[in-house]
């Protein structure tokens, strides 16, 4: 075995080993050690995966656990064991997860002082699950990491033990547990038909079978689970509650990496397993595209109407996930490349923004932009990170996200482009509005956001500001890297996601600078801050209508677990309808 083949399982086993060791010794470890170990393990995982990404440029790196290679059974189409496979895209995403975790560990320094290593044990298991999710090439193994990711996330959400955190965690657990049952059932259906779990072998079987309700049903169940994780309308309702109430260092991971992994998993499955099924590709191009657009728009509007900073960011995450789903459903090579780049750019930016929210929760004891009005003075580093992040999300023509948007829009229709641009502008303007209120004392009468739910809470104070600000600024700086440098790698990554031996793709060098999103962001931002109390009758009527509209939308996101589960069933029904037509 070559070095990279040996290192492939280490990327998962290292965090697992560190976590179990820390748990076994939790009672006797000095309190500082787990924090240091966790940072180094996350960095090591990042380094290993970067190495794997580099090595896989010469062809995919594979590792068969227990030595059960596909020919161990001496029967074609029967794969006895489980394989990991690093292609450039998967390995790069795993490395990205390692990076986000190390940033989050630095940010969380001092947050969980009193607890016995439990936080770090859970986080390391979480990291291992995400890396495994990226690297596996076995459907049931994918389910295992998906579920491990979910369970670690449940536990971490409830960790602060606050009222909201507990209720958010309850909703989160119920909806996502249901999603994992769906995924297990879907995996079972696909196994019953194809007789294998291995992606490549399953892909061949799917292409042989052709149109078949069992395969489509299996895909729908698995996709519904992944879309629940990726918070796509109407499966998205849990996210805003969970991300808003989880501890900030955990929210960084949730919004920055976990949710977009759901979409990456879906993209990988569509490319490697279901590319030969016309039914499935029809669903992807049709229903998923519509769902993506709807998600982007609804969540964008919801983000604009929030006052609780973390909830605002959570809705912005949903909105951007909708945009990513449109890229996924477009299915062209440039759009897929755009999707991969967007995951990175969005994750870095959103991670930084959640860190800013966490900083405010720690230093100013609130995350409500109206309560915090003018309280951010003197915190120049978080202000810088927040304004930078808001501009990036709002379409600043610099950095990874802009490059990604350029790639995605090449294969988007004009109405789709209009919707995604509007969604981008709404989320960007919402964040900038909050930043202006908190840090610059800019005012304007609050609009619909005044009615949004909020919570009085805080996070552990007395943590060094620079340890919280540095990772946020570093992530924003990384998101500002010019995308041109990454294009050759991205070309190889996109091509290999579909076919491990494909030649690298030549991606179009950065297109024209598109200033429309930024202009729209600025306009919405100005609109929010120039708002004055409605005095005249027509103005009042407009305000009332606006409030009624937003109230209806807020009512949809009721926070009641029964509602959320009902909407999940509706989502499944949508899939059933779309595949029957």
């Amino acid at each position: 075995m070559s070095l990279s083949e040996t290192l492939l399982p280490v990327a998962v086993l290292l965090p697992l080993g560190a976590a179990t060791l820390m748990l076994a010794l939790a009672h006797w470890l000095p309190p500082r050690l787990p924090k240091i170990v966790a940072i180094f393990v996350a960095l090591a995982v990042c380094a290993i995966c970067l190495g794997l990404a580099h090595a896989s440029l010469d062809g995919p790196v594979r590792h068969w656990f227990g030595g059960w290679t596909p020919d161990a059974a001496h029967r074609p189409g029967v794969v006895l064991g489980i394989g990991f496979q690093a292609d450039p895209a998967s390995a790069a995403l795993a490395a990205f997860c390692g990076l986000m975790f190390s940033a989050s560990f630095v940010f969380a320094w001092g947050y969980f002082d009193t607890e016995h290593a439990h936080f770090h044990v859970l986080m390391l298991l979480f990291l291992a699950a995400m890396v495994g999710f990226c690297l596996t090439r076995d459907l049931f193994n994918l389910f295992v990491w998906f579920e491990l990711m979910s369970i670690a996330a449940f536990a971490l959400t409830a960790y602060p033990l606050g009222r909201s955190a507990l209720e958010g965690a309850f909703t989160f657990t119920v909806t996502n547990a249901l999603a994992s049952f769906l995924m297990l059932a879907g995996t079972g259906l696909l196994y019953a038909r194809t007789g294998t779990f291995d992606f490549a072998t399953m892909g061949e079987a799917v292409a042989r079978t052709g149109s078949d309700p069992v395969l489509t049903g299996g895909f729908v169940l698995v996709a519904a689970a992944l879309l629940t994780k990726a918070a796509i309308l109407p499966f998205h309702l849990w996210l805003a509650d969970a991300h808003a109430v989880a501890p900030s260092p955990v929210s960084v991971i949730f919004s920055g990496a976990m949710v977009s992994l759901g979409l990456f998993g879906l993209a990988k499955l569509v490319a490697q397993v279901f590319s030969g099924s016309a039914d499935v590709t029809g669903l992807v191009h049709g229903l998923l595209h519509g769902l993506g657009l709807a998600t982007a728009l609804v969540a964008g509007v919801m983000a604009f109407a929030q006052r609780h900073l973390k909830r605002l960011l959570a809705f912005s995450t949903i909105s951007h996930l909708g945009i990513m789903l449109t890229a996924l459903s477009a299915g062209t090579d440039t759009a897929t490349a755009g999707l991969l780049l967007y995951i990175l750019g969005h994750g870095l930016t959103k991670g930084a923004l959640f860190m800013v929210a966490g900083t405010l929760l720690s230093l100013r004891q609130s995350a409500d932009e109206i309560v915090l009005y003018g309280q951010g003075r003197g915190l120049w580093a978080p202000a810088l990170a927040m304004i930078g992040g808001g501009l990036l999300l709002g379409g600043l023509p610099l950095g990874l996200m802009h490059g990604a948007t350029g790639l995605i829009e090449r294969s988007a229709s004009a109405p789709a482009q209009a919707i995604t641009t509007l969604a981008t502008a709404l989320t960007g303007a919402a964040i900038l509005r909050a930043a202006a209120r908190i840090f610059l004392r800019a005012s304007g009468v609050p609009g619909p956001e005044l009615l949004a739910p909020t919570e009085r809470e805080h996070e552990k104070p007395d943590r060094p500001v620079w340890l919280m600000a540095f990772p946020a600024l570093a992530l924003v700086a990384l998101a500002l890297v010019p995308p041109g440098a990454a294009l050759p790698f991205l070309g190889a990554a996109t091509a290999r996601l579909h076919d491990p031996s494909a030649p690298p793709l030549a991606l179009p060098e950065g297109g024209s600078v598109n200033l429309v999103p930024l202009g729209l962001t600025a306009a919405l931002f100005a609109l929010a801050l120039l708002r004055r109390r409605a005095l005249h009758r027509p103005a009042r009527a407009v305000t009332r209508a606006e409030r009624a509209g937003f109230r209806a939308l807020q009512a949809l996101h009721s926070g009641l677990v029964g509602d959320y589960v009902t909407w999940m069933a509706v989502g499944l029904a949508l899939f059933a309808l779309a595949s029957a037509l």
Binding site: F170, A177, L178, A244, P453, T454
Partner: protein, 130 residues
């Protein structure tokens, strides 16, 4: 689909329909539940649907268990792979149930109620903010 006429429903589809039934019933329970602990119980019903489905998929008529202690290897046996998948999942399912129950206990302590209709993570702002 020509096989969709109601009279021609083959009995061999029974396990799949039972699985779908269990899942639907569980969903109904979750949606109408007025007590979080009851809701968790309904969730376990949904989960049992996946077990029935998977084990049904591996069943082979007139075959023995995939344990060759009494029968020599080579005697017909059912699919061991789906059994392995379900086996571990049952244990994990119990642990997730425990996690949910722990959350429910704490919700009761913090809120004094366990009616899912009354639990929503973030509350509308206090009127004083106007």
């Amino acid at each position: 689909m020509s096989t969709l006429s109601p009279g021609a429903l083959p009995i061999s589809a029974l396990p799949w329909l039972v699985a779908a039934w269990l899942f639907a019933v569980g969903l109904y329970g979750i949606v109408t539940s007025r007590h979080c602990v009851h809701l968790v119980g309904c969730l376990t019903v949904c989960q049992s649907a996946t077990y029935v489905l998977l084990l049904g998929l591996g069943y082979v008529r007139e075959a023995g268990p995939p344990v060759f202690y009494d029968h020599p290897p080579g005697t017909p046996a059912v699919d061991p792979v789906v059994q392995a998948l379900v086996l571990t999942d049952i244990v994990v399912g119990a642990a997730v149930t425990a996690l949910l129950l722990a959350i429910a206990i704490q919700v009761q302590r913090r809120r004094g109620t366990l009616d899912p209709q009354a639990l929503r993570p973030l509350r509308p702002p206090p009127p004083s903010a106007e």
